[in-house]
Symmetry: C2
Subunit: 531 residues, 2 copies
């Protein structure tokens, strides 16, 4: 989906949307790289024209300032935060000893970058949304990221930028990363680092798969016993309200939405530890076996619990959407339980337990609707014929018959996002980023109207085998391949050019402190300094 | 190979070789773990008997001291360094506010660990070698590691140790890790961190694959142009003599030998940049193509270069062995070169270029022999029938017909180490540590005498896809599986017990600052704090 262009924010100065081409940054890598004419830009903007005219950026005095005409200024935290961040990315965090506040600009110098906000709604204090305009003229974080990617060092270590014109906007509006904090707890620091890396790749959705079977780290104000009993540890392995707030704000400043997922009725083993009677007791013959199955869909208490919990969630998470899960419900426990059997008979469901699942989901959707949130659901909910609101986002994740599923979902008129080809938890030897890169999300059969319903996709890093020790290098730059597929034009498919730009982009991530792993035999001018 | 037991070093105190069993450390993980009766010991000692009698270790006053009778004391840097290291592992690096130098020990308390060195040669200042006695009674670093693994926290956070008797020695004398600093440069910090992790797993050989085709980071005093021209960067991506010295000393203090590999005649593209005429010019028809092949074996200058280089290497690296490579020689360039063709004719080699390869290797081995070093070589050198000294170590790495190769090498009377099943650069989804763990190095057909020639093995982490960003979590705890296979008794094959101990061992690595990745869905009491 291409966002409409509104002239709402302008980066002024000669440097406005100007780019560069550098032939010497990776000179020593001639066996591996063919330098791209687009330098290290990633994801590639919609339109770029590079000239050979270069300007110097005087690091000792360069400024990013609000233009006089700008409608937003020093009081806009999002702006000021972004200026500081990108100044550091471009020039390093240490102020040079010879730093001077102003000096006359030389003939081929750019001494300041003026930021001109023309829109009344500059998102200084509000949250990004599905309909935010992310074109280069509008979205400040994205635009500064592009600008910073145009800056390169010449042979003397001086910062340069080439005169370039860029027109840019994302192809898809929903570009997400799923992280799973239930199978392994992820310390806040890890989440924040990955939000930073997301911004550097113009991802705009953090899909927070916050709870699941193994643990319940979300500290609920309404039901504190959920994490007290269900987290790996009630104090060291939980996200407090303050933590969640901080993560949301950190994301907001980078143009990233936070969509939490509270997956039910399956994937809820950890919920049962702190909430009596929430899960279905499984039976072995005529007696309870002591184990529990999915959420118990036949008790009124279940729905009053969900009503309270989702009421809290809707106020804690500002995004207009919440992900309700609904995947992989195992019917064997429901089938074993005599009370469930009776209920099935009363309702006339026969032996079709997917009808019981739909019964539950239907009631849950009604509850969530009252909280004024839209919802995302995994594809099974659609497949099972549950009645959905028109603005529901159906999340396609299964690996088989993907194109058929995309066709069906959009034929039924629902918006959809794609994850099936982008399960990054599956690792293999070699350059698997190419596989992710070659995916074309609109390759299914359908009308133009159907294609427009595909609003984006998400790279998913499920947590079975990742935690703080290995998550970041496993995610980057593999997810960067997905970032470009979701941002750049459909025609951007040259794999050699991508290899060249992505190699430089990953070194930039490393230089900015993100331990992004190498694509292949190579080096970075500044290697990762951590261990 | 089991080392002879010499009563040379004794850890005194009640705690000598005493162990523990803890049932509560991973209590919350009952879905995953069955606690092992051996606690978190890894690799499992040869003989362990655990009692239920526990003693407290007063962290506020606990001391590791030289026994009065000990033949080594405060002047032994290896001892003092190990004491400090293991004190920190057991009690944390911050001295407790209430630390007191001495106080009366309570009834079930162990207040000090006395270290009694009885051997004249305590390796205080010398280097570990293939024939070092590594039994628990002798090798201090290994023995302290075991002691530290016996310490556990009780419910009050107090440190405890259970009365246990241990008799320990490694099954194989050569237990190595290969790291490759040519395909990606590894900063010193990364190498040191992995030497620390090696010591925690009782590995005793760092096989340093220091140079190869892509880059030559070894700064040679004799031929500085090799790294000046052949390294990725002549200053930021090289190992200076001081760096090498520091790495060797850091390893020595942890009982680890450093065996450098200078692989020839193939894998030498980076050598050619700084050393004129070293490589064979390839021909396209009757004219040089501008590209180069393996080392040129027909010039006298080649051998005088090798003589000088290996003379330097033999003095820089104290270990009795050097690895000479000799793998994967591509004959196409030699075949294209008219001078080489003439030489082949003169020598009567016909079209058999493996004879030319052997001609080169033979001369190289003679050169290295004059430096008083033993040599290790990759299996092709043996396969090609090169005449080898009796103490040559043949390194088996190819994936096909492994058992046949082990049989042939040992039948010919050579010592050998195994790497074929332990190429850790090949990654896959899931718990591949189990595959590494299940390898039995002596499963080939052969006499007892042949089996004795298998002196160990190495886990290899080739560098195509790893650098500072991802090396450590990719290596650990996957290499730990190899560590136990090479250390513990042949009969130690219980995979569930291994899973339990290894899970706890990996959390210990994490707590000590090594970002060892998780085995599966789980948590550690102290998660990794880096990113």
């Amino acid at each position: 989906m291409s966002a409409t262009l509104r002239l709402a924010l302008l980066l002024l100065a000669v440097a406005v949307c100007q780019g560069y081409q550098s032939n010497d940054i990776d000179e020593e890598d001639e066996l591996v790289y063919e330098p791209s004419k687009y330098g290290s830009l990633w994801p590639l903007p919609q339109k770029v024209r590079v000239s050979e005219v270069s300007f110097k950026l005087p690091s000792a005095s360069f400024k990013i300032v609000d233009a006089k005409e700008s409608s937003a200024g020093p009081s806009c935290s999002l702006l000021q935060n972004a200026y500081r961040r990108y100044y550091e990315y471009m020039f390093g965090s240490v102020r040079k000893p010879g730093y001077v506040k102003s000096r006359a600009a030389g003939p081929s110098e750019i001494s300041e970058l003026q930021v001109w906000i023309t829109s009344a709604d500059s998102e200084c204090d509000s949250y990004p949304s599905l309909t935010s305009d992310e074109s280069c003229e509008f979205a400040l974080p994205h635009c500064l990221e592009t600008f910073s990617q145009l800056v390169y060092e010449d042979a003397y270590g001086a910062k340069n930028i080439n005169s370039t014109t860029i027109s840019d906007f994302p192809r898809f509006a929903h570009r997400g990363i799923l992280l799973d904090t239930s199978r392994h707890f992820l310390p806040i620091k890890v989440i924040l680092a990955n939000l930073e890396a997301m911004a550097m790749n113009k991802f705009n959705v953090f899909h927070w798969h916050i709870v699941d079977d193994p643990s319940f780290p979300y500290l609920s104000r309404t039901f504190p016993q959920l994490s007290q009993q269900g987290a790996y540890h009630p104090y060291t392995h939980v996200y407090t309200p303050a933590d969640v707030k901080m993560i949301i704000e950190f994301a907001r400043l980078r143009g990233i939405r936070v969509i939490p997922e509270f997956d039910t009725p399956g994937h809820t083993q950890s919920w049962g530890k702190g909430q009596k009677d929430l899960l279905t007791p499984c039976y072995s013959g005529t007696t309870p076996s002591g184990t529990f199955g999915p959420v118990n869909p036949i008790l009124n208490t279940t729905y009053s619990f969900m009503r309270q919990l989702f009421s809290e969630i809707s106020s804690v998470f500002p995004d207009a959407y919440v992900h309700l899960g609904g995947d992989e419900v195992d019917f064997s426990c429901w089938r074993s339980n005599p009370d469930i059997q009776n209920f099935m008979e009363q309702q006339g469901f026969g032996q079709d337990y997917s009808k019981l699942e739909s019964f539950y989901i239907q009631k849950l959707l009604d509850i969530v609707t009252t909280t004024q949130k839209g919802y995302m659901i995994w594809q099974e909910v659609f497949d099972n014929g549950v009645k959905l609101k028109p603005d529901t986002v159906v999340h396609v994740w299964m690996g088989n018959r993907v194109e058929e599923e995309m066709q069906n979902v959009t034929e039924a008129g629902y918006t959809t996002i794609l994850s099936s080809p982008w399960y990054l938890d599956y690792i293999s030897y070699g350059q698997d980023w190419q596989k992710y890169y070659k995916v074309e999300p609109l390759s299914f059969k359908g009308t133009e109207a159907q294609k427009k319903l595909v609003i984006g996709g998400e790279a998913c890093l499920w947590g079975e085998y990742v935690d703080a020790t290995n998550l970041t290098p496993r995610l980057w730059p593999r997810a960067s391949a997905v970032a470009e597929r979701l941002w750049s034009a459909k025609e951007v498919t040259d794999i050699s050019d991508a290899y060249s730009r992505l190699s430089m982009h990953r070194c930039r991530l490393v230089e900015r402190g993100i331990p992004a792993e190498p694509l292949f035999t190579s080096f970075c001018p500044h290697e990762y300094k951590g261990v």
